[in-house]
Subunit: 409 residues, 2 copies
């Protein structure tokens, strides 16, 4: 197995994520699986914060997902803390696994003097191994002592602590215009990024004030446009979790700034989602697949996803090979209406196909030139309607095999 290096698509530096008033962060090294790095992150929220969650649609959910759903219902969307560990997903661990999630929430709650159901828990890593909760317990004191108002360094440390096969920490923030408030978030994920949520965790914060229902509606809508539009390898995780916490510390109500808040939230979730694709296991190309002319937006999304998930398309992209015939094959298998004899395909600005045949005057060298870059745009018009969608993915390379044929060893 070759050594894992930072993704060539990684940003040069961790972005200067703005603090969100009221959020305090800490990280610690519990040695759950990794050594020589922090693997637990604690985010403390001020009393009265609202929390919303969107979770994996997997039928084999991990215990922390079950806990979060229960806790958010029991607390009516109130939250005082989020605790996250990497290295062990606490998934497929049965009743003992659920007890471990509850224990972790209770331990944090006791330490902070909060109700247990106001503590959200997330775990990511290997499936089917018992979570060593005593190692998390052992660092709780360190975590609470270490809590400090979230500044740029704190966000980066938190993003690092929640990573598994990630090759760079992921963070993003945006101001909410017309207010002093911000939206800021961190995420992890690079493999098992798939239809309807990725193996990913993302934690987004704002210091606007909003009720839990508003937070839930905004988060669900934003996730649909961002995290649910990315795919690395079509695999869905048992643990996918996105939480939005609103501290209200800015004193400004979201209701007076709804459109601006939604834009800021979308900017942050989209930025984090794209960073996850840019850290796709083995990725060397960031690829936007846009489908137009479909029967509807859902049909367009299904076709775009089929193209984005096709191993043959992804390997051609890895080789900068303008093999658009593989795009045709993917469109054909998507099971959505498409008019073979009106199909049009673009690689970057170069149109390869029109009216169901190779386009006259198509310059393959122009398409290849575009594919030699690392920011790729593919577009397909399927010729039957007005539906449109974009899905983001990466190429499929030897690096993916290296990482996934050796993850546990």
């Amino acid at each position: 197995m070759s050594e894992i290096k930072v993704s060539p698509l990684a940003p040069a530096v961790f972005p200067a994520v703005s603090g969100v008033a009221g959020v305090r962060l800490a990280t610690a090294a519990a040695g759950i699986r990794y050594s020589g790095r922090d693997d637990v992150m604690l985010a403390e929220l001020p009393s009265g914060s609202s929390v919303a969650g969107v979770f994996t649609r997997s039928l084999c959910t991990a215990a922390p997902v079950d806990w979060c759903k229960h806790a958010l219902a029991a607390s009516s969307g109130r939250g005082r803390a989020i605790i996250v560990n990497s290295g062990n997903a606490n998934a497929f661990t049965g009743a003992a696994g659920y007890a471990a999630a509850v224990h972790t929430a209770e331990s944090v709650a006791r330490t902070l003097g909060a109700p247990a159901h106001e503590v959200l828990v997330a775990s990511t890593g290997v499936i089917g191994e018992d979570l060593p909760v005593e190692r998390i317990d052992a660092v709780l004191g360190t975590l609470v002592t270490g809590l400090s108002a979230a500044g740029p360094n704190g966000w980066e440390a938190a993003a690092n602590a929640i990573g598994t096969t990630d090759t760079f920490p992921k963070g993003a923030s945006a101001p909410v215009p017309g207010t002093s408030a911000h939206v800021a978030g961190i995420a992890k994920g690079s493999g098992m990024i798939a239809p309807d949520m990725a193996t990913m965790l993302a934690f987004v914060f704002t210091d606007l004030a909003m009720d839990a229902q508003t937070a839930q509606q905004c988060l669900a809508a934003s996730v649909e446009k961002s995290f649910n539009r990315i795919t690395v390898d079509s695999d869905t995780s048992t643990s996918d979790t996105v939480l939005l916490a609103a501290t209200g510390t800015s004193g400004q109500p979201a209701t007076l700034h709804m459109a601006d808040f939604e834009d800021a939230l979308d900017a942050v979730t989209m930025d984090l989602a794209h960073q996850i694709v840019r850290d796709g296991e083995g990725a060397t190309k960031f690829v936007a697949v846009t489908v137009t002319g479909a029967a509807g937006d859902d049909a367009a999304q299904a076709i775009a996803r089929t193209v984005a998930d096709s191993p043959l398309v992804k390997t051609a992209l890895a080789a900068s090979d303008a093999n658009w015939g593989r795009i045709v094959a993917a469109v054909g298998k998507a099971g959505q209406r498409a008019d073979r004899d009106r199909l049009a395909i673009w690689i970057g600005d170069e149109q390869c196909a029109a009216g169901g045949v190779p386009k006259s005057g198509y310059r393959e060298e122009r398409a290849t030139e575009h594919l030699l870059g690392d920011d790729i745009e593919l577009r397909v018009d399927v010729g039957v309607g007005e539906g449109e969608a974009t899905v983001w993915t990466c190429d499929l390379t030897h690096g993916y095999i290296d990482i996934n044929a050796g993850y546990r060893t």
Copy 2:
């Protein structure tokens, strides 16, 4: 790109495929794409032969598929010849592509003195390039002169001529008990092997006598159990074609030997289907994924296919890594009913999980030992019903990337 070698899962020698009375075969080198090898195959059938066909469900069918559907309807399932070229799929070639398929059928028909709609055409290879029909025309004389009764060498030459990225020729045969008749077939395919037919061509012959309707029913049922149960990379081709030709030359009617014929046909289609998986691009493991306890057989098949298509499962298999957590994740994303807390998983004979948790006393070294072999059995019981299905696949290795990131160049 590393050099392509014969699959480690290939049979030691081409099987001794029995002749089918009445079938004559020939091959020739037309230089359509490849040099130094035969790339066109002609199979001549005696007058009055029945032919049945099963085709890709892709919405972007290749021209030869459209022609075959038309021809079989026009001839009421009569066939005098099958002509196949490799190197160019004649797909996404519009009206000119259809004209090329018609032209090829007409040329063969004229040479053999048969109606054009009794000539079936198949093409496999690159998509979106015009088929150079004049090169096929140029070798028609050679082909017809070369026709000879199908013996073992003839079957092997025919299997070689229709291959593209195949690393070994694929053939199989079986006697029909109680008769002098046989079922024999050849196939090609190694990549783009996917849900509902693979990028594959298969041509199966018998010298039993049967009407076209019987042939169609038997073929459809047999394909459902064989070619539609294999997946290499979840990609579906525009060109998938399976034809069954019954020459009747043995003088024995299939209707008197139906069960024996169906068994022989199933044996041949299953054997060919498994050979295609064994030639899966980059494959080093042949993998049977069996799902039991599903809500129904269709649900079991959907779950088995999701496991078999999971890149994370396939890369773990490549590494002989008993990472059964990835199987849990795949079951969870399949979208079919499964009881997480009753899930049981076996790798070979070793049970890894029971009742939704790692099985007490699970010996990972036994699972690993099984995975170090090249014939792998995975079994999952999802604990909700009686549905069962098996899907066959292979592992995902660096070899797949090598082959598909360099196919056209």
